[in-house]
Symmetry: C2
Subunit: 199 residues, 2 copies
Amino acid sequence: MKKTRDQLLDIAERHFAIYGFAGATLRGIIKDAGTNVASIAYHFGTKEDLFQAVLERFAKPVVSQQLSKLETELQSKNLKLRNVLLAFYEPPMKMAHSLGKKGEILSLFLGRSQTEPEPVFNEVDKHYADCRDQFIKAFERALPGLTKEDYHWRFEFMLSLIVCFLTRQKQIRGRYETRTDWNPDEAINRMISFCESGF
Amino acid sequence: MKKTRDQLLDIAERHFAIYGFAGATLRGIIKDAGTNVASIAYHFGTKEDLFQAVLERFAKPVVSQQLSKLETELQSKNLKLRNVLLAFYEPPMKMAHSLGKKGEILSLFLGRSQTEPEPVFNEVDKHYADCRDQFIKAFERALPGLTKEDYHWRFEFMLSLIVCFLTRQKQIRGRYETRTDWNPDEAINRMISFCESGF
DNA sequence: ATAAAATTCAATCATATGATTGAATCATAC
DNA sequence: GTATGATTCAATCATATGATTGAATTTTAT
């Protein structure tokens, strides 16, 4: 039997992903988790504390995977843009795919975390700030000679592709494909190719 | 005089853009609009009806501008990809910029409308469905020889850039720029160049 | 000017929500 | 086994929310 705390995190993650911060309700969460309202207060505190806990649990691993992959690439003398892009795209995409239904939730949450207007999501930016800096530095090394502004714009464009893919994948796939499964490698490749040319 | 109705639409638009559908409250809206809760019921009906009215008012003009620009381009014997992209990007970007503060709201709304999970936003897709089909057809003409899937992916990527730009522009600009104003032409050009290579 | 229609308003309803409390239950150490 | 602390629970609070009503006010048409 799963611990209440973990169960709550799983369900809360799903609800925040699907309904957003404002749209998710503690009662909806505890109902799905089969527990009591007070258990949230006991384990986490307020609704916002719960959200931060969810964020902490999933954002950190993804970012650290991205950074460690990037680190590996940086060792190489001949840093290739394509490999930097791969280091960025692969962790979240693979995770989103490998986890199946849960990955769908996670990716939705990840995508939403970039677009939600709620103040709580400002915290998200902090989680990603260091990651962004590192990748922009890598871009400068892989593709020297551009202006600071160029790198920022292109990083944003690169990020846009995956944010929208993750946030909208269900609608997109529903529109374009019949099959319910998707190929992460194809998606990654398409994103990388698109960006590589764009850069 | 339809003063109250328009006022409500303006304020509601802002609130939906900033707080999302679930986060926006009728009381918050009527307080800013300086009117009464019942006025919403009178002029629109339910909260969802109000949302649809907001959507109707702003989405239609943008889409119709995009389509009419595209129509013009389609007249040309030698259809250029760049011009198709311009037809897509210019209307929402110009509108977002020219309206200043209000444009910021509109663009936030526009961006959010592509990522919100709420069922109400499913309606948004209908508004854009025809527009998407037309542009994909134009892509096929401007850049023949690709598979159906290719066009869909690239359309999504193109869309991603502007969705994320509009949704995140404030955060982005806050991070990268000191000045509060922005240059729509520069943004449009950067998007087009990035896509043109990607295609 | 006046009646009818359109619009606005204060008051209220029923429910939902985040949060808190104190008692009950469970797990663990001794 | 029992005492202690950790965890769960039902009950409750205060407020917020979407919606509705009927009276008051304003606008419009004649």
